[in-house]
């Protein structure tokens, strides 16, 4: 078995591209795993689930679910040296659908992920202005005041919802293509294309920058953020453990889903990356490195994020109190600067006892630091609304804005590489690319097609559609695919055969921890997470938050139900990727049945040659 595998390896090494060195491979995998979610999803989860206490379910999920699945994907790709479709086809022809499912999911996720990067680019382009454009509301037509929509919310919200997205009041109103977003999307795809142009040859070189640059920026932000006033409040708020939350099952579910999506499993990208490795490579160590670095990055990123959010909460709190001080000063004609933040309470007490009616008529705000700290946000809300508002108040805003958006872009770009490789490698392995098309042209066609389809996200209702794609494509299908992956490897390929392969590749047999998690714990956890996910989503009719300036309670978001046709599309997006699993299995089985029936009819041994054609 050794000799034939080695000769096969030699034959393939002349044809199959490979990584220049181990560092490239590791950086690419780390870059794929570390993405936008590490920066804007994990800190939010930490905050709402009792700070430091959330680390416990998170690390347990990493050890019991994340690392085993990661190890399995890297090992299977490295051993079988093919992309996702080829790998599952090799294990069993009935499982070919699994690879197709990964391919479809990777393609769909790549569509909307790059739209987010287009938004990041838009903000990056605007960060070179002084003052930053989201600092001030624009003036209305006769220059007497500010635009009403902007006055009711804030300049930051207005810049995001009106000047960037130009969002429509609901998902049925499509609006038109916003030309500025089309330009940004085109530049995002061009940037992706130039890194992806020759597959892993160019990706490997690009990841030297895209995978390491975010860490540099995070460190710079860490140093800057810790010197801001109010940073300590934010950090204490983030990390103070609230052990009560561990009793809530939702916390454990969210920890399991977070680790699963954070490691970018089931996309087929990791299988593709490891398939370019030499077979004699320690995939166990690679898996542990990638998994731990991913979790470490999440924790490391939450420190500057929360220091800056604490600073912002402090600024808002001081603004609130200063507004109160000014109101009191003006109403009672006290000398300015006589009431300060320090003696405010004494003054207030004095004025309230002497003139309670006047004080009451002033409608002073209740300023509570906790309320400002509680204003949490995740996802695009964190990056484009909360963070941009914090950046305005920091001295040297342009520098921090530029650094932040470059960091977000490189985080997303390295994840895009994995998505696109998850599409490219299977197509190349299946020889679906005609040989006369050079790789550069094919990757260009891929980028062009994706750009054309992603234009739906540049419409007025694009943000609503992106949320749908994010919730329905990037969640349940992945869980299903991962579950089938681990069942296939453990029970169809055979765990003993898998153990032998790993022993041949790394030189040692996987220990008890891997055996137990692969056979029982990880499939069980995946199943539980999947069932819980479906149950929770099916509980109520799905709704979405719409930005409607004519809404009665504007600036609060209007909560609307999805119309029927949109809901049908949601269900389609959920099922389309995974439908290929039973379809391909059924198709292959029907071919097998035909052959079996024909064999039974023709006892002639020469008849086998005729029936071979039927199999296709």
């Amino acid at each position: 078995m050794d000799k034939e595998a080695e000769s096969a390896e030699q034959k393939e090494s002349t044809e199959r591209p490979k990584w220049d060195n181990k560092v490239q491979y590791l950086l690419t995998c780390i870059g794929f795993a570390v993405g936008l979610g590490n920066v804007w999803r994990f800190p939010y989860l930490c905050q709402i689930y009792g700070g430091g206490a959330f680390l416990i379910p998170y690390l347990i999920a990493l050890v019991l679910e994340g690392l085993p699945l990661l190890h399995m994907e890297l090992a299977i790709g490295q051993r079988l040296r093919m992309g996702s479709v080829g790998v599952w086809n090799s294990i069993s022809p009935y499982l070919g659908g699994l690879g197709v499912a990964s391919l479809v999911v990777s393609f769909l996720v790549g569509l909307f992920y790059n739209m987010i990067l287009a938004w990041v680019l838009w903000y990056f382009f605007h960060s070179f202005q002084s003052p930053l454009p989201w600092r001030d509301c624009p003036l209305n037509l006769n220059h007497t005041g500010y635009v009403t929509e902007c006055e009711k919310t804030s300049s930051v919200n207005y810049f995001w919802y009106r000047e960037t997205l130009n969002i429509t009041p609901d998902i049925q109103t499509s609006g038109s293509l916003q030309w500025w977003l089309v330009l940004c999307l085109a530049s995002a795809w061009c940037l992706v294309y130039i890194c992806f142009i020759r597959g892993i040859e160019t990706i490997g070189k690009a990841t030297y920058v895209t995978a390491t640059f975010p860490y540099l920026v995070l460190t710079i932000f860490l140093v800057r953020a810790l010197t801001l006033s109010g940073a300590a409040d934010g950090l204490i708020y983030l990390f103070t453990p609230n052990w009560e939350t561990l009793k809530n099952p939702q916390v454990w579910l969210d920890a399991a889903t977070q680790i699963f999506f954070s490691l970018s499993l089931a996309f087929g990208g990791l299988i593709a990356f490891s398939s370019y490795n030499p077979q004699k490579n320690d995939c166990e160590r690679d898996a542990v490195i990638v998994g731990c670095v991913n979790s470490f990055t999440s924790i490391y990123a939450s420190i500057p994020i929360f220091a800056i959010l604490g600073f912002k909460a402090n600024e808002d709190y001081n603004d609130c109190r200063n507004w109160n001080i000014l109101t009191l000063t003006n109403a009672f004609n006290i000398g300015d600067e006589n009431i300060t933040l320090e003696n405010y309470d004494d003054w207030f007490h004095y004025l309230n006892t002497t003139n309670p009616s006047v004080v009451e008529s002033l409608d002073l705000k209740t300023c509570n630091l906790q309320t400002f700290l509680d204003q949490s946000a995740s996802g695009t809300g964190l990056a484009f609304i909360v963070f941009t508002e914090a950046v305005i108040k920091m001295p040297g805003s342009q520098v921090w804005a530029v650094l932040f958006f470059i960091m977000l872009f490189s985080l997303g770009l390295s994840s895009m590489f994995g998505n696109l490789e998850g599409v490219l490698t299977p197509l190349l392995d299946l020889h679906m690319v005609p040989l006369w098309i050079p790789k550069e042209i094919f990757t260009g066609l891929m980028c062009l097609t994706s750009f054309a389809v992603a234009l739906i996200f540049t419409m007025g209702s694009g943000n609503y559609w992106l949320e749908i794609f994010n919730s329905y494509v990037g969640s349940v299908p992945l869980l299903i695919i991962a579950f089938f992956e681990i069942i296939s490897v453990v029970y169809i390929y055979g765990i003993n055969r898998f153990n032998d392969d790993i022993e041949w590749m790394t030189g040692r047999r996987p220990n008890l921890y891997w055996q137990v998690t692969w056979r029982f714990i990880s499939p069980f956890m995946l199943f539980v997470v999947f069932v819980a996910y479906v149950v929770i989503s099916a509980k109520q009719r799905p709704t979405y938050n719409a930005w409607n300036p004519d809404y009665v309670h504007f600036p609060l978001a209007e909560v609307l139900h999805y119309p029927e046709w949109v809901f049908a599309i949601c269900v389609l997006l959920c099922t389309l990727p995974v439908i290929s699993i039973p379809l391909v299995a059924g198709y292959k089985f029907s071919g097998f049945l035909k052959k079996y029936i024909m064999n039974r009819h023709n006892q002639n041994p020469y008849a086998n040659e005729l029936t071979n054609d039927v199999e296709l």
């Binding site: 382009f125 605007h126 007497t144 530049s187 061009c190 130039i194 004609n333 000398g335 300015d336 600067e337």
Partner: protein, 211 residues
């Protein structure tokens, strides 16, 4: 002497009667000197008040080209420690009050000069009821973001073209090399075949007895 004193008293009380807080033709002014200047704040006293009245007389005179307003035409009352006070403006010849809108126009026209006289700004020297004209945002002819976009896209497109050209050149070079290899091989094969042919021919010749 008595007449002068009584005249002054009369004008003083008249002035006081003209200026009332909440007067429909008057404006409240509010200064925040310490907020604006911090340590360099000056103390508000009668001299500063005189400067204010003089500045406002200047503004009114500027508005009405013909009429010359005097400091005495600006009447101030209800000064507080804030520092805030009310003022009204009277015409120089008859002591009738100038309309609110006229005063507003005059103040708006010379707002910058009034602010500069006191080293303050629109937010620290407030005329309650006269909103400051909001500064028109600077709009460059090409939006800045398009310039950055142009730079980035230009660099990326140049990079793409370079990579494509390089790979095209590499491909052509490889094709030429493989063409040369096959040509050499065919020549070699041809020579070998010829050699064999000749050898066999020569062998054949030698085997046949010469006539």
């Amino acid at each position: 002497m008595l007449e002068k004193v009584s005249f002054l008293l009369l004008s003083f009380t008249l002035a006081e009667q003209l200026c009332k807080p909440g007067d429909p033709d008057g404006y409240k002014v509010r200064l925040s000197i310490k907020t604006a200047l911090g340590e360099n704040a000056y103390v508000w006293n009668d001299n500063e008040m005189f400067l204010f009245r003089a500045t406002l007389a200047f503004a009114m005179t500027k508005q009405f080209d013909g009429q010359q307003f005097e400091v005495s035409d600006i009447i101030v009352c209800n000064q507080t420690a804030r520092v805030s006070f009310w003022f009204v403006v009277t015409y120089p010849h008859n002591k009738t009050l100038v309309d609110k809108q006229v005063v507003e126009r005059a103040v708006r026209k010379s707002r910058n000069r009034i602010n500069s006289a006191f080293l303050l700004s629109d937010t620290t020297l407030e005329f309650i009821g006269i909103p400051p004209t909001l500064a028109t945002p600077v709009n460059p002819s090409t939006p800045t973001w398009l310039i950055v976009f142009g730079v980035v896209m230009g660099a990326v497109c140049a990079g793409i073209i370079v990579v494509l050209v390089v790979s095209l050149v590499q491909r052509k070079r490889k094709k030429n090399e493989t063409n040369e290899d096959t040509q050499v091989k065919t020549v070699e094969n041809g020579a070998a075949r010829d050699g064999v042919y000749y050898m066999s021919f020569s062998e054949d010749e030698s085997s046949v007895t010469q006539m």
